[in-house]
Symmetry: C2
Subunit: 410 residues, 2 copies
C-alpha cells in the first residue's frame, strides 16, 4: 500500500551535518520491500560509548535482547538496523539471525561482537532471511559516507510517510558539539520507557554512564510522552552513541554541571523526534498536544494525560472536529490516578470550557470551533489535586488508521 505523506509532516527538514566518528550507509537488501532501502548501517569510532532505552514489552524480540546484553559493556562500533521484519516471536531461528549478523559485523569492522548493536522493525513472527541480512553488512560497508542521514532515516521506515530527522548543537566547556537524531514510527506507538526506533549520535566525549543517564532522562520527557494507538511495540529501541571525537575533556559523571547545555539540547532534539512520531501517526489528520497539571505528581500527570491521549472516544471526537470535553472527563476518570471531579478544568485551544467540575456557561464557542478545524489541537487539563505536570503528544483516530491496519499484511 502506498501511503500519502501525512498532512502533519514538517514542511521542511534540516540537513544533518557530519559527526566526527560516525560513518553511515543505507542499502536495499530486499528483506520485504521492493525498490527501496531497508538496511541502515553506522560505523562508529573505537572511542564510542553508548546508552540505550529499550521496550518494557515481555515479548521483546531477539534484537532488543542482544542490545540489552551489549549495553552492559557500554561501547559501540557498529549499528545494523533493518526494516520489513521485526525478528520478533521467531524463536531460535530469529536468535540465530541476530547472532549471524553480529558476527558478520564484528568481522567486517574488526571489533568485538558485543560492540555491535542490532535493531529490526516490521512484521512480527516471520523469521527474517538470514543470508540477505548477513550479506547486507559488507554491501552497506562499501557505501559508508559522512552525511547520508536523510537516506538513513528513509531506510528504517515501515508505515512512516516521511523520514524523521533532527539536529542540534550544544556547548561543552566552550567546545561546540553536534547531536544528530533519526527515528521511525507511525503505528504500534505507545513507548514504555522507550520508543520505536530512534538513534542519536554525538561527537561529545561522554562516559557510557553519562550517555545512559542523559538518554534515560531525555526519553522520559519525549518518547515516553507520545502515543499513537496505545499499543506498545515489541521492538522499541532508543540508542545514543557518543563518539568522543570533540575537543573537550571527558565527562564521566552524569551530575557534571558542564552537561547542562548538552542535556537541554538533547531533550529538545528528542522531543522534536517524538513529536514527529505523532505527526506521522497512522491515518493522522490532527496533531494533539495535551498539557496536564494539578496531578498528585509528574508520574500521575503522565498517566492521566496518556489516558486522554489513548482514548478512542477522545481521538475520534478530535477527528470529527468536536471539542467533546465530556470524553476528556471520562478519560481522566478512568486513568486510576487521583483527580478532583469538582475542581477539574478543561481548556481547548486556550479557551476554558469547563471549570470547577462544571461546563462554563456561555463561553465563546467560535474560537473553539475554529481551533478544532485546525491541524494543531491543544488541550489543557487541570485535575485540581497537586503540582504534578506532564505534556504528551498524540494524533486523532481516523478512517485512515483502520484502512492501514486492516490490510497491513496483504
Amino acid at each position: 500500500m502506498a501511503l500519502a505523506v501525512s498532512p502533519l509532516a514538517p514542511t521542511s527538514f534540516p540537513t544533518l551535518p557530519a559527526i566526527k566518528g560516525v560513518r553511515i550507509a543505507s542499502h536495499a537488501a530486499g528483506i520485504r520491500y521492493k525498490e527501496r532501502t531497508d538496511v541502515f548501517l553506522a560505523e562508529l569510532a573505537p572511542s564510542t560509548t553508548v546508552g540505550g532505552v529499550l521496550t518494557q514489552s515481555l515479548t521483546a524480540g531477539a534484537p532488543v535482547e542482544i542490545c540489552r546484553t551489549h549495553l552492559k559493556k557500554g561501547r559501540a562500533r557498529v549499528l545494523v538496523v533493518n526494516s520489513g521484519n521485526s525478528n520478533t516471536f521467531t524463536g531460535r531461528k530469529g536468535a540465530a539471525v541476530v547472532e549471524a549478523t553480529v558476527n558478520a559485523a564484528a568481522q567486517a569492522f574488526s571489533c568485538a561482537p558485543d560492540e555491535v548493536f542490532i535493531s529490526s522493525t516490521g512484521v512480527i513472527g516471520e523469521p527474517p532471511p538470514m543470508d540477505k541480512l548477513v550479506d547486507a553488512v559488507p554491501a552497506a560497508q562499501a557505501k559508508l559516507s559522512d552525511d547520508a542521514w536523510a537516506d538513513a532515516a528513509a531506510a528504517i521506515m515501515t508505515t512512516d510517510t516521511f523520514p524523521k530527522v533532527a539536529t542540534r548543537t550544544a556547548k561543552i566547556d566552550g567546545v561546540t558539539v553536534t547531536l544528530n537524531g533519526i527515528c521511525k514510527g507511525s503505528g504500534m506507538i505507545a513507548p514504555d520507557m522507550a520508543t520505536m526506533l530512534a538513534y542519536i549520535f554525538t561527537d561529545a566525549v561522554l562516559s557510557a554512564p553519562v550517555v545512559q543517564a542523559l538518554l534515560s532522562a531525555a526519553a522520559n520527557k519525549s518518547f515516553n510522552c507520545v502515543t499513537v494507538d496505545g499499543d506498545t511495540s515489541t521492538s522499541d529501541t532508543t540508542l545514543m552513541f557518543a563518539t568522543g571525537q570533540a575537543a573537550h575533556r571527558l565527562i564521566a559523571a552524569p551530575t557534571d554541571p558542564r552537561l547542562r547545555d548538552f542535556a537541554e539540547k538533547l531533550d529538545d532534539l528528542a522531543i522534536d523526534l517524538a513529536k514527529q512520531l505523532a505527526r506521522d501517526g497512522e491515518g493522522a489528520t490532527k496533531f494533539v498536544e495535551i498539557r496536564l497539571k494539578g496531578a498528585a505528581d509528574n508520574k500521575a500527570a503522565r498517566r492521566i494525560a496518556m489516558s486522554i491521549a489513548n482514548s478512542p472516544l477522545v481521538k475520534t471526537a478530535i477527528a470529527g472536529e468536536d471539542a467533546n470535553w465530556g470524553r476528556i472527563v471520562m478519560a481522566v476518570g478512568k486513568a486510576g490516578e487521583r483527580a478532583s471531579r469538582d475542581k477539574l478544568s478543561i481548556a481547548v485551544g486556550g479557551v476554558v470550557i469547563a471549570k470547577n467540575g462544571e461546563p462554563v456557561e456561555g463561553y465563546d464557542e467560535t474560537p473553539v470551533v475554529t481551533h478544532m478545524k485546525g491541524r494543531e489541537i491543544l488541550i489543557d487539563v487541570d485535575v485540581g489535586i497537586g503540582i504534578g505536570v506532564a505534556t504528551v503528544w498524540t494524533c486523532d483516530l481516523t478512517h485512515g488508521y483502520i484502512d492501514i491496519n486492516g490490510s497491513y499484511r496483504t
Copy 2:
C-alpha cells in the same frame, strides 16, 4: 444519526415473563431524543433487597453517587433510569436534579428517599432538564404494567442498535424463581468492576448481603469481561433487585448451598447480557471471544486478555479479516503481566498457528482464512506460566466506530 441494527444482533429475543413484586413502565420525557422513550421506571415490592456494582471512575456522575449511598441500606422500592443525558460533570445542578427526582419518586410511591435508585446515560456535561425528569415519575407511574420488558430495554438505549434482554429460571429449595435482566451499552464500554447500565430482577427471597455477593461474583465473570473500546464510563451501574415474593424461605448467607443453581443461572444471565454488549459494540462487524490460559492467576489472565481485546491493532486486523497473531503477541507483551515468550501459543478458530514462541510451520491456513471471514471469531492464547484463566468478549474496530464517534454530538 439513525444506526442500522448490528449485524451481530441475536436473531431472536426471549419474551421476558412477569416477576412477582416488579411493575415496570417506560415513558417519552423528551430529555434529548425525539419520538422515542427515554425513561424506564420500576416499582418494587416493599420486601425488595438490592445489591449493586458501580463504576470505579473517579469522575462518576451524581446518579452513581446516590446509588452508592442508597446501597448501604440494601432496600429498594423504585428505580428511575433515563437515557439522553448522563448527568455527569454537571456540578451542583446535576446533584439537585438527582435529589428532586429521588424526592418525586419517594412521594409518588410513599417510600423513603434512600429506597430510590437513579441512573442516567447519555451526553456528559449538560445539566439535565429537571422538570422533565421530575414530571416523568408520575407520568410513568400511571403506565406501570407487569410485562413491558422489551419496551423498558428500549427506553434506556443510547447508541445501542438493539434492546438487550435475558431471562432464566432457577430452583431454590425446590421452588422455581425467575431472573430477568436488561442492559444497555455500545460505546465507552470497558467496565471496571461494573458495566454500563444493567438491571437484574428476581422474585427470590434473598438478604441484601446475598444479593450483593451474588451480583459481584456474576459481574466479575460477565460485565467485567467485555470491552468495546477500553473507555470506562462515568455512569456504569449494575443493580440487582430481589423482590422476596417467591415461596422459598429467606436465604441470608452468601455461602448457603441452596444458592448453587441460582448463582449458576445468574452468572449465565449476566454473561448473556455482557455478550450482547459486545455484539452491539459501536461499528462492530465481528464478535470476538478471547480465551486466555496459562497466566499466573485469573486476574493476570483477565488483564492479558483485556490487553488483547483493547488493542486497536488487533481489532483493526480482525476487521480486515487478517489473523495477524503477531499483534496478539504484542498485546500480550504490553499487558504488564508475566508471560513466557518462548512458551506462548496462539490458536485462531481452533487452529494452532503459533506454538512455543514460534509460528507453526506449514499449518493449514484455509480454515483460519474461512474463520476470519465469519462473524464469530475465537482466539485462544496460552501464555505458558501458570493456571490462571479468563474469557473476555469484544468486537472489531471498524470505520463504523469512527463514523459514530466523530459525530456523536452533532
